[in-house]
Amino acid sequence: MKYAFFPGCVSRGGCPELYPAALKVCERLGIELDEMVDASCTGAGVLQEKNKKLGDTLNARTMAIAERMGYDTIMVICSTCQGVMSRAKYTLDNDDTYRAEINALLAEEELVYTGNVQPKHLLWVLIEDVGLDKIREQVQQPLSGVKLAPFYGCYIVRPSDSLGFDENPERQTSLETLIELVGAETIDFAGKTRCCGFPILTINEKASVNMVANHTGDAKDLGADAMVTPCPLCHLNLDGYQPAAAKQRGKSISLPILHFPQMMGLAMGMSAKELGLQRHVIDTKPVQKKVGQV
């Protein structure tokens, strides 16, 4: 099992704990990764505000590079990378004229976008390619008694037509599936597929922080020990701005936010330290204690 690997900017930038955690989990499960050192940022939806075509071209380029490297799948570890790349793919695959225009822009680098490459989040790779049984074999430290609230991030759930939900309906409950598989309990709550507020952080901090307060506060009220997300941008907001959210809400929240590979790693018996749990803004010790590590 080998993939072209697109780590994205944030897993090496604002959330440097994510990259090594994801790598360790992949290694344990025998997923080989060929990192795409030459790929650019997906644009994260921001570049697309300025110029959609620019975003589509950069993503076409990334998929074309993967094809040249001999792969049909790019593994990503960020909901936003997944969604933005999937949307670009959807647009390109459904518009021949546009695809030809974009290919003309890639010609100088001798790249061709064919549509044969698909982006696939580690979350989906685990369920669809590795398989639940094989993961179960690696669960050495079941997270029993731990209550986890899933938080997907917009781009891995919407728009549904570009995310392959028709062929793979299990993607829509993938986080819950893995939470249960590692022996933890799912805290279901209305906010799990809503927006974390990160994209409007610089524009309207109050509204953005209000979203953080609602989601983390609701999950906490329902008894969650931690929240789990496959999106590092959500992590930046839900973790980094939780102190501001608690202030806005007028009561403490203190809900640790785990990157989803960290949850997998903990269940596989890796130490909190090697998974970078000490690098979060919200103290993760209460969860570490719950899984018997402190």
Binding site: P16, C41, L47, E49, K50, N51, R61, Y155, S160
Partner: protein
């Protein structure tokens, strides 16, 4: 087939003004929509159930409601696609708008926002002898936004409206693009100026909820992105949102990937001391945890090709 509708009800005349869920179990034909089942309920089981509808064919926009938590048209949503394994369908009124009774909401919130974007043509110059003419081609890009039937589903599910009622919201912004993009309209700059204000086009968090909810393929968020792109191209670049997109693009052009440090420092403005101080606690907390992006930001090996793509598209 048998279906159980779990309807969220609200009666303003009830003693305690809390909403409650009432279940109705019915026998219905397989092809029934959620609206068909609600009408049958009202006609045969409970005439007090309030539901708004007219065309029953996805044309009039009267019957928007939430089915299993997501907004859409009751008359376009098949029961068969909505029942869970026990045959239950959850029906609620739309969100972000006050409930009048049961599934009927007060849409004045919606209409006020639509009115706020001046949803009519404001042509410039002397009146032509006959009609104002626009070429077919120039109107093609507006077909999507012209498909809006004013149902309110997008507004119901908008995540920003939940925390900021001043936001113009998806339907009104999509409508704004319908006029900004119309070659006969002469008020484009004035419109951009107004849309640039707080609560306008930059307040959307790009969550795709409206794209998912819209029953007519309007994709309001895409229209908001069109507004942003065209406003920036017309020189409306002073808002934080526009600057953020600009600096983001610059760092990607420069190195191939995002330089978060540059983005964080430059977006509010290097010399905007107030904003820099305000952001400091977050930065310091991140720093103390070893969570800051690398100070040295290395370009990808083939960055020149990325730059070429930027140049070629910018030339256009």
């Amino acid at each position: 087939m048998q279906v159980k509708l779990a309807v969220k009800r609200f009666d303003p005349e009830r003693e305690q003004d809390q909403s409650y869920v009432q279940d109705y179990t019915l026998d219905v034909p397989d092809h029934y929509t959620v609206l068909d089942a609600l009408i049958q309920t009202r006609e045969e089981v409970d005439e007090s159930l309030a539901v708004r509808c007219s065309c029953r064919a996805s044309i009039c926009g009267s019957c928007a409601m939430r089915v299993n938590g997501h907004a859409g048209l009751g008359c376009k949503t098949k029961l068969l696609d909505s029942m869970d394994k026990d045959g239950v369908v959850q029906v609620e009124p739309m969100g972000n708008q006050p409930v009048v009774k049961d599934l009927v909401v007060d849409m004045s919130v919606f209409w006020n926002k639509i009115r706020a974007v001046k949803p009519y043509l404001q042509p410039e110059g002397p009146e032509p002898e006959r009609e104002y003419v626009a070429s077919n081609d120039s109107m093609l890009k507006l077909l999507q936004t012209m498909g809006c039937i004013m149902c309110g589903a997008c507004v119901s599910d908008c995540t920003v409206l939940e925390v900021n009622e001043n936001f113009l919201g998806p339907a009104a912004l999509a409508k704004a693009y319908r006029f900004v993009g119309d070659p006969r309209d002469g008020a484009t700059n004035q419109r951009f100026g107004e849309l640039d204000e707080p609560g306008g086009m930059w307040d959307c968090t790009r969550c795709f909820e409206c794209v998912e909810a819209c029953p007519k393929g309007v994709a309001p968020m895409d229209q908001i992105m069109n507004l942003r792109e065209e406003a920036a191209a017309a020189g409306f670049t002073s808002t934080i949102g526009a600057r953020h997109a600009e600096i983001f693009a610059d760092t990607v052009k420069h190195s191939g990937w995002l330089d978060e440090l540059q983005l964080a420092v430059k977006t509010p403005g290097m010399f905007n001391i107030g904003a820099q101080l305000h952001n400091m606690p977050v930065g310091i907390r991140a720093f103390l945890r070893g969570k800051l992006p690398p100070i040295v930001h290395k370009a990808i090996p083939s960055v020149r090709f990325v730059r070429r793509i930027f140049e070629k598209i910018e030339e256009d």
